[in-house]
C-alpha cells in the first residue's frame, strides 16, 4: 500500500524524461487501450506497460499495487464472461443445473477488459512513480497552462493518499495496543467497530487540511505573480518519443478504422 501513487527515486532513463513526455505516453496508452478491444492487442499493450515499468526500475515496487488490481481484473473478467451471453458455451459455473454459462467470446472479451484496465491504471501509476510531484505541477502549469490552483489541488489530493494510509496504520496500531479487536461477523457491530479508527482519522485529516491552509498562506500562496526557479526542458529524446507516440496513436486509429483489433 505504501508505494501507491508515490514517487520512487531511481536513476533510470524513464525518470530523466520530461514529465510532459511521460504524460503523453500515459495518454497514448489510454488512447490505444480504448481504441481496440481484441484481447491480443490489449495483452500486448499491458506487456509494453510492464516493460516500461521494468526499464524504470519500479516494477518490484509496483507489484503490490498490481496484485491489488488483479482482484478487480478478475471481477471484471468474471462479470464479462458471465454476461456476454453469445457464442459457444465452454462450461457452466454451476455444472449441475447448467446455470451461469461461460462462453468462449465472453471469456476473451473479459480478458480484454481486464488487460485494458490494468494497462491504463498501471501506466498512470508508473507516471507518478517516475516523476516528482513538483515537476508534474511545473509541467501542468507552465506547459499545459493549467491554472495553478487546479494543479495544486490535484497534486495535494494525490499526496494525501500515501499519507492517509500511513495514518490509518498508526491509528489502528494505537487502538490495538489498547486491546481493541474487531471481532465477530455481525455487520452492524463491525461498522460500529470502525469508529475507533475512523473518528481519529477524520479529526486528523481536518486538522491537516487546516494546517495546510495556514502553511500555504504563510508561504505566500496566491500572493500575486508566480515565477519558477526550475524549468523543465524537453530534450532530443523527449521530442523523438513524443513524435513516435503521436505516430503510434494515429497509426492505431487508422488501423482501427481499417477494421483491425476488433472482436
Amino acid at each position: 500500500m505504501a508505494a501507491v501513487a508515490e514517487y520512487i527515486s531511481r536513476n533510470s532513463p524513464i525518470h530523466r524524461l520530461n514529465p510532459l513526455t511521460k504524460m503523453i505516453w500515459a495518454l497514448s496508452i489510454l488512447g490505444v487501450g480504448l481504441l481496440f478491444n481484441d484481447y491480443r492487442y490489449l495483452l500486448a499493450l499491458l506487456a509494453s506497460v510492464l516493460l516500461v515499468a521494468a526499464a524504470a526500475g519500479v516494477l518490484r515496487s509496483l507489484l503490490p499495487a498490481a496484485a491489488g488490481l488483479t482482484v478487480f481484473a478478475l471481477i471484471l473478467l468474471l462479470i464479462q464472461a458471465l454476461f456476454y451471453g453469445q457464442g459457444q458455451v465452454l462450461f457452466y459455473l454451476v455444472p449441475v443445473s447448467n446455470r451461469l454459462a461461460v462462453t468462449g467470446p465472453g471469456l476473451l472479451s473479459g480478458i480484454a477488459m481486464a488487460a485494458r484496465m490494468m494497462a491504463l491504471v498501471l501506466s498512470f501509476l508508473i507516471f507518478l512513480a517516475t516523476t516528482r510531484t513538483r515537476d508534474i505541477v511545473l509541467t501542468l502549469v507552465e506547459k499545459l497552462k493549467v491554472p495553478y490552483d487546479y494543479a495544486f489541488m490535484f497534486m495535494t489530493a494525490l499526496r494525501f493518499i500515501p499519507a492517509f494510509f500511513s495514518e490509518v496504520r498508526q491509528v489502528s496500531e494505537a487502538q490495538q495496543a489498547r486491546a481493541y479487536a474487531v471481532e465477530g461477523w455481525n455487520p452492524v457491530k463491525k461498522i460500529r467497530a470502525y469508529a475507533p479508527v475512523a473518528v481519529p482519522l477524520v479529526l486528523l485529516s481536518l486538522n491537516k487540511a487546516d494546517q495546510l491552509a495556514m502553511a500555504m498562506e504563510t508561504r505566500g500562496y496566491s500572493g500575486g505573480l508566480r515565477t519558477c526557479l526550475r524549468e523543465a526542458k524537453m530534450g532530443v529524446a523527449d521530442y523523438g518519443l513524443s513524435v513516435l507516440l503521436a505516430l503510434l496513436l494515429v497509426g492505431s486509429a487508422a488501423a482501427r478504422l481499417a477494421g483491425y483489433g476488433l472482436m
Binding site: 505504501a2 498508526q170 494505537a174 495496543a177 489498547r178 486491546a179 481493541y180 479529526l203 486528523l204
Partner: protein, 282 residues
Amino acid sequence: MQRKARIKVEKLTYHYGSGQPVLKNISFETGKGECIALIGQNGAGKTTLAKHFNGLHRPSSGKVYIDGIDTTSMKVSELARKVGFVFQNPDHQIFHDTVAREVAFGLRNLRLSRREIEERTAAALEAVGLTEHCRTYPFNLSKGQRQRIALASVLAMQTETIVLDEPTTGQDFRESVQIMEIVRKLNENGHTIIFITHDMSLVARYARRVLVLCRGEILADGDVRSVFAAPEILKKTYLRPPQITNLARCLGRHSIPPDVLGVRELYELLVKMRSEKIGCCS
C-alpha cells in the same frame, strides 16, 4: 534461582517491507520491575524496537518473548493485556467525546465490570492530574494534556509492563517531571518500565538501566552510571551525558567519580571532599 524474564529478545532483526534492516541482531532481556531508558539518535530504531514488545511489529528473524511466550503466536489485542504502550502522538488514538470515556475505552475492551472500569478510570485520571477534566472534550485540552490522557488510558489497563515512546515531548519542565514521577511510582509498585527519550537528564534521574541504540544495533546496555561514564560510546549515536556528569568528569582528576548523575550528588561529594581536605591540612 533463575529470575524469569519479562521481555526477552533473541537475535531480533527487522526490516520494513523489502528495505534495509532497521534492527540488526538485537538480543537482551529485562527482568521484572526494571526501569529502562531506550536512547539513540533520530531514526536509530527505538520506536521500531519498542513496537515489537506488544506485537505491532513481528520479527523478520529472531524471537521476542513476553513472559516466556513467543509473540508471533499472539494477537496485539491479547498482548495489550500484558504490555501497555503510550504512543508519541496522542491524536492517533483519541476519539471519544469526554476524557473519562477515552480512558475507559481500553478497559471496556478488556471486558471489565462497570464498577471496576469506573474505579480504574478515576484512579488513572487522578494519577495524571486530570480529574477535574473528566467530562471535558479532549480536543479542548492542550497537546500536553492530551498526552496525559493517552498515558492515563494505558495506566488504567494496569499492565505489568509499560512502554512509553517519548512521553515528555512537548511538555514543559514541570509537566515532564510530573509524568516521570508517575512513571517512577508505577515502577515502585512493581511495573516494568521501558521509556524512550532524548532527554539525558531524565535518563539520569529516572532510569536504572540504559539501552543505547545506534543504527539498529545495541551500542551499550547497562547501568546508567556505567553507560554515562563512557561518553566516547555515546558520541557514536550523537548523545552526550548530562551536563552534571560531564562536569564531574572534568573534575575527575580531583578524586570525583566520573559517573555522577545528579546535582545534589555532586554537591555532596564536593562538600565531603572539602571537609576531608580541611581535615588533612589542619
